[in-house]
């Protein structure tokens, strides 16, 4: 990762200060064509990319990303092989990984944080590591200068949100709905409600993820949030079509959010 990018958070804040909404696609590492998809997304206006490290039991994921994870694992993808390949992917924007905690735990907190840093990854999102369990990982990540993106859910009471934000680096991942990843017909009203609650109490970029399913929903989310994370709608294009289709889609999302 080139030095001028800095941290995920400084990069996203800078983009935001230029009046720019933040587009962060998710791509399952190890799925056929994944590095091409990263390049296509970056070339078409993504501000950062979240790379999923496939896990055998992805409890926060719906059918599309489950399928992508299963195929990646069948192709022989491992955390080590994915991080190794990432070293040669320099697309000029920050990279984050999304992984379930057993992947971290198995390697060891310190070792995993180091290996992220060495592969040029700025940040980590660990969806089954809530605030109360995050201490050991966050300490290791801080030491290795890896930012930990925390998730905030619609079910969080008011007193919980500031504590999540205190621990949060990179951006706040506002979980858009009650449920797992996957495309939905409409943007859930819980997405905007939560983004509003978060924007009222923090200056850290707030991105809505889970259930932001097309360009129009991304634009709707960006009326309140600083940006979006999109996974299933991106991976469906890579599964059914190819990296070019991912690029076209990101361009479409970029255009839609730039108009809002």
């Amino acid at each position: 990762m080139s030095a001028e990018i800095g941290t995920l958070e400084t990069y996203l804040r800078k983009k935001r200060s230029e009046g720019h909404k933040l587009v962060v696609p998710y791509i399952t590492g190890g799925f056929e064509g994944w590095t091409d998809a990263i390049r296509a997304a970056a070339a078409n206006g993504a501000d950062a990319i979240e790379i999923g490290i496939p896990f055998s039991d992805p409890v926060m994921d719906g059918p599309t990303i489950q399928h992508a994870s299963e195929m990646a694992l069948r192709n022989g993808a491992t955390p080590i092989s994915i991080l190794h390949q990432l070293r040669s992917v320099d697309v000029g924007i920050p990279l984050a990984v999304m992984c379930y905690y057993n992947t971290v735990h198995h390697a060891g907190n310190e070792r995993f944080a180091n290996s992220l840093r060495e592969s040029g990854v700025c940040a980590a999102i660990v969806p089954d590591l809530p605030l109360e369990e995050s201490g050991l990982w966050c300490a290791a990540a801080d030491t290795s200068c890896v930012e930990t993106v925390m998730l905030a859910a619609p079910t969080a009471p008011d007193e919980r949100l500031p504590r999540i934000i205190d621990r949060c680096k990179g951006f706040v991942y506002a979980v858009g709905l009650l449920g797992v990843t996957g495309e939905r017909d409409t943007l859930a009203s819980s997405a905007l409600t939560l983004a509003k609650r978060l924007k009222a109490i923090t200056d850290v970029p707030v991105l809505i993820g889970v259930g932001v399913s097309n360009a129009q929903q991304a634009a709707e989310a960006c009326t309140i949030a600083d940006g979006v994370v999109q996974g299933a709608s991106v991976m469906r294009r890579l599964i059914e079509e190819d990296a070019d289709a991912v690029g076209d889609y990101i361009a479409e999302v970029r255009k839609a959010v730039d108009q809002c």
Binding site: D57, V59, H105, H106, A107, A153, A156, P157
Partner: protein, 387 residues
């Protein structure tokens, strides 16, 4: 007495609450509700009444004179197979569904392996007027077809889990995904001493009735003495922890028998899945391995965190038996004692048969956690022509 977990839900280094952020408030709410209910004499009485008048507790203690003589041991069975619905699962489910109702929840979601927990959940939901949805691995839907039909008769919806190994592990994944989406009005009734805090502790508390009764029954049968060995099957570990709870302060050896193809303690290492840190069968990259067992109820690569703790301090032992030993024990028990055991409890039986030469003259208490009716069709295929 077994110790309560720490405030962060740990038994030693095991347990915890590794769940998506969406579920954290629900787990906290559940913990508070359980503490409150367990301290409330009215709740305790309601549960005790149901256990007695509906489930048929206390379950009896049966001495197996024939097998005991053959094996040179004294063999006692705690008869959880005689409970309403045919296994120990009803003990925990009645408690959990009563609690769900007290919390104002409208729906029950559950996972099941052998279908016993699913049947018990469907039963309690029918009795107490809640809806019930049960996730069951597609492989188990086939090998436990009888229980699938029982659940449907009881008004529950059975949803096959088609991901991964299509067994218990995947049913848990699907139930958790469902709960993430429905958490506001739905109670997740976990079937064993696993999952995020407070489940392992709460389910153990509900199952400890097995150990309490067994301890009193042993004292009266054995003239105030305790058995030398207490043995039970371990899938997630709820029937085992239930009976261990009555003997942890005695000198009895505590033995949890795992299937060779699902030996979390025996072959696993600490890992984090399904909300808990515990022993887990996983590959060199931390991918959870698929269990392989003849018994749907034990076909699980993990184990409840308190068992990991008891193993780590050396208080309990977790040997395994293979499918062949289990098939043989299933028949031995049926013919020698006139009791057809669930395949799950043919595991501790198999261990007893194998180890009896080293335990001559000792008194062995085995938890017979369920009856074998559900397994008869599967055994008919396996033993095709041999009987």
């Amino acid at each position: 007495m077994l110790k309560d977990p720490s405030l962060d839900g740990r038994f030693g280094e095991f347990g915890g609450r590794f769940v998506p952020e969406t579920l954290v408030p629900a787990c906290q709410e559940l913990e508070a509700a359980f503490r409150d209910a367990w301290a409330d004499p009215a709740f305790r009485k309601e549960l005790d009444d149901l256990l007695r008048d509906y489930a048929g507790r206390p379950s009896i203690l049966t001495e197996c004179h024939n097998l005991g003589k053959q094996l040179g041991i004294r063999l006692l069975l705690k008869r959880e197979d005689l409970n309403h619905t045919g296994s120990h699962k009803i003990n925990s489910v009645l408690g959990q569904v009563l609690l769900a109702k007290r919390m104002g929840k409208k729906h029950i979601v559950a996972e099941t392996g052998a279908g016993q927990h699913g049947v018990a959940s469907a039963t309690a939901a029918a009795l107490l007027g809640l809806s019930c949805k049960v996730y069951m691995g597609e492989v188990d839907v086939q090998r436990q077809a009888l229980n699938v039909f029982r659940m449907k008769l009881l008004g529950a919806q059975v949803v096959p889990a088609v991901s991964g190994s299509r067994t218990l592990k995947d049913a848990v994944n699907e139930a958790m995904r469902d709960w993430v989406a429905t958490v506001e009005d739905t109670y997740y009734a976990i079937g064993s001493v696993m999952g995020p805090h407070p489940y392992p502790w709460m389910v153990r508390t509900f199952q400890s009735v097995i150990g309490q009764e067994a301890s009193e029954q042993c004292h009266s049968l054995l003239g105030g003495k305790d058995p030398d060995v207490v043995v039970a099957a371990v899938g997630g570990g709820s029937n085992a922890i239930g009976i261990f709870s009555g003997f942890v302060d005695t000198k009895a050896r505590l033995i949890g028998v795992e299937p060779a193809g699902g030996a979390a303690v025996g072959k696993g290492m600490p890992g984090v899945v399904h909300g808990m840190r515990s022993y887990l069968m996983q590959d060199e990259h931390g991918q959870v391995q698929e269990a392989q067992s003849i018994s749907a109820g034990l076909d699980y690569p993990g184990v409840g965190p308190e068992h990991s703790y008891l193993a780590s301090i050396g208080r309990a032992e977790y040997p395994s038996v293979n499918d062949q030993e289990v098939i043989s024990a299933f028949q031995v028990m049926s013919r020698s004692e006139g009791i057809i055991p669930a395949l799950e409890c043919a595991h501790p039986m198999a261990w007893i048969i194998r180890e009896a030469p080293k335990m001559q003259g000792q008194t062995i208490l085995m938890n017979l956690s369920g009856r074998g009716d559900k397994d008869v069709a599967q055994m008919m295929e396996i033993l095709d022509g041999q009987i």
